[in-house]
């Protein structure tokens, strides 16, 4: 791999990310600023309050400061690494995000892997048996999964496996009432399985459909035609030429799916009461925790961007065809 080129590439991408984050910050701040949310009301909830206390809080939250000044204050704090204080968790936003995002990352990573592997295998099988009953069954399965609301699937899974069969806990990432140091590795896994499977289902469908189409396209390409003419056939032909040419685009697509993965995690975490960043985002939105919501928006933008970046790197540096084109020019 050409390290100098990679360095320049990464430099450009970093500048792009910084620019993007600035715009995302300004835009999302402006959007919530339009909202008729009263931060003081959000902070104190339904409690009644003395007028002088209210004035104090208003000053603290900057209710009466002009929007641009508020933004500059907020932006300055962000640059210092201070994302503010969460209204609902009553602790620094940075801590909330760190803890929640770690939990979500575990969930998203495991279902990302599961959906990638499962989807790829299903797609290869469907593509190889193109037109047969097996292919049709896989296609119907994928269509249904793509049309199914994620949160409904989560509900049904919860109903069957947790409520009726009792195989899995109904919610949370750890058992209730157990001190965090007593939570075993097994407990974590046990609480992770059902959300992971649910979240991976949607990804399975899209990657399987993509792999199927791509494999059919590759198998009708000139080079597979010529490989057939040279006497290659059967699964060996698919393995040597099909999978080789489908794998890279499929992996790239899987990285481009970070945005959907995050969205799915929001819904799945909500249903399984899994204390991840998605659940925090919903809570922050419903209870007008502006600092937390903005922080989650920024984190999610970085998350999506890193997925796209990895896809770009695969495209630019791993695929041997691209390397060559650059050398020629």
């Amino acid at each position: 791999m050409n390290y100098r080129k990679l360095g320049i590439f990464m430099g450009k991408k970093t500048i792009k990310l910084v620019f993007l984050l600035i715009v995302v910050c300004i835009a999302s701040f402006w959007i919530v600023e339009q909202s008729p949310i009263d931060p003081v009301r959000a902070y104190i909830g339904e409690m009644s309050i003395q007028p002088e206390q209210k004035a104090k809080l208003e000053e603290y939250w900057g209710v009466n400061t002009p929007a641009h000044e508020k933004f500059l204050n907020w932006a300055e704090n962000i640059l210092k690494g201070d994302l503010g204080t969460s209204l609902i968790y009553r602790m620094p936003v940075t801590d909330v995000v760190k803890e929640r995002f770690a939990a979500s990352l575990l969930l998203m990573a495991s279902s990302w892997l599961l959906s990638g592997v499962l989807g790829f295998i299903l797609g290869i099988v469907a593509g190889m048996t193109n037109g047969t009953l097996i292919d049709k069954a896989i296609k119907v399965y994928c269509y249904i999964l793509l049309a199914a609301p994620t949160f409904w699937l989560a509900l049904i899974f919860l109903l069957i496996f947790a409520v009726n069969l009792g195989w899995f806990p109904v919610g949370l990432s750890v058992p209730i009432g157990v001190a965090s140091e007593d939570v075993t590795f097994f407990d974590r896994i046990h609480h992770l399985i059902l959300p992971t499977i649910t979240l991976s289902l949607l990804g399975v469908a899209s990657i399987a459909m993509f792999t199927r189409e791509k494999l059919i396209e590759v198998m009708s390409s000139d080079y597979v035609l010529f490989a057939k003419a040279r006497g290659e056939k059967g699964f060996d032909l698919v393995k040597r030429h099909g999978i080789r040419n489908v794998a890279l685009p499929a992996i790239t697509l899987q990285f481009l799916g970070f945005s959907e993965l995050f969205g799915g995690a929001v819904l799945v975490e909500q249903v399984f009461s899994y204390p991840g960043i998605g659940q925090a985002a919903v809570a922050a939105g419903l209870r007008s925790d502006v600092p937390l919501l903005l922080a989650i928006v920024i984190v999610s933008a970085v998350f999506v961007y890193s997925g796209n970046l990895i896809a770009d790197i695969i495209y630019e540096f791993v695929d041997p065809r691209i390397k060559q084109q650059e050398m020629k020019t």
Partner: protein
């Protein structure tokens, strides 16, 4: 090149054709705009024969379905293709099953461009093909031997297809054909846009193969190149073969040629009269009742517009024309 690749190619008697293509037709079912189903006929009632130790050139204009003829012989047509007629190889029926057995062994293809090589696979893996560990070594040795013969540097085997220059690519493609001790080589448009030197070099490979006993089918749009090395020329027009002529029939003003189209092609060459014929080939979706060349023929008569002329043997060649007896 010593032993392995040229063994078992014994010179056959020229009396019996190694490959006989008898009256094949090929059509595709397609959906046009609005999902109306149409049948596209690409090859109709085509017959030809290939002999060991001979080069048969199939000459026709680009995009007229010549490649599909090669794919039909190898049994690698797409699934919406309908093929009828019969083929015979070495005296036996060439069924789809038989084709699958023979391709890559007895019958090999030399494709036309770099798109026929797997873009993500190194050259040597593609030339050697899928082999078990036992045979890998001997195949690797054979491949290196062939590379030396075709003047390909050893590092080429580690390259990816896009890294090859045009000249290397052509020699690599030819190498794939001589890896197996085959009997029939079908070369699909092997000389696109080559300069004089490269053209002669490439053609010499085929001449060499024929001399070693292969039956070579050279599919090309370049009649001049075909005339340089071929023994017989088959004229492909509108999905069928109008004439099969011996190469030495192409002399003078084409008096020995049997079909008016062949004569016109011959006379269109720069060194001859340089006179192009008017009109164009019928489109593939046109339904033709009579002779395919009717529209452009200078000697046509009423019968020609009514039914397709039969293929007749005439002066050591074959022709599909009513005005020849």
């Amino acid at each position: 090149m010593t032993n392995t690749s040229q063994i078992n190619v014994e010179k056959r008697g020229k009396t019996e054709a190694l490959l006989k293509v008898k009256d094949i037709s090929l059509s595709f079912t397609q959906y046009a705009s609005g999902l109306r189903q149409t049948d596209l006929k690409v090859i109709s009632n085509l017959s030809m024969e290939a002999y060991s130790g001979e080069i048969l050139a199939v000459v026709g204009s680009s995009g007229s379905g010549k490649s599909l003829l090669a794919h039909a012989i190898l049994g690698i047509l797409p699934s919406n293709a309908k093929l009828s007629g019969a083929m015979e190889y070495d005296g036996h029926d060439l069924t789809q099953k038989k084709k699958e057995e023979l391709r890559g062994k007895d019958i090999v293809l030399i494709p036309q461009s770099t798109t026929y090589l797997d873009p993500l696979m190194r050259i040597s893996s593609q030339i050697i093909g899928s082999v078990d560990a036992k045979n890998a070594d001997s195949r690797m040795k054979l491949q290196r031997e062939i590379f030396r013969k075709y003047d390909l540097k050893p590092e080429v085997e580690r390259m990816f297809p896009h890294e090859l220059s045009g000249g290397m690519l052509r020699r690599v493609l030819v190498s794939t054909a001589v890896m197996r001790s085959s009997k029939i080589v079908i070369a699909d448009e092997p000389t696109p846009g080559l300069d004089e030197n490269n053209l002669n070099e490439t053609l010499s490979y085929f001449k060499d193969m024929a001399n070693r006993g292969y039956a070579v089918i050279l599919i090309t749009h370049d009649i001049e190149a075909a005339l340089k090395i071929s023994d017989k020329i088959a004229i492909f027009y509108a999905g069928t073969i109008l004439e099969i002529a011996n190469t030495d029939d192409f002399t003078g003003e084409g008096e020995k040629l049997r079909h008016p189209y062949t004569r016109a092609l011959w006379n269109a060459l720069p060194q001859n009269k340089f006179r192009a014929i008017k009109g164009h080939q019928p489109m593939q979706d046109e339904v033709l009742e009579g002779c395919f060349f009717y529209e452009r023929c200078s000697t046509r008569n009423e019968v020609c517009s009514k039914c397709v002329p039969d293929l007749k043997i005439c002066n050591g060649g074959m022709v599909r024309c009513n005005n020849v007896s």
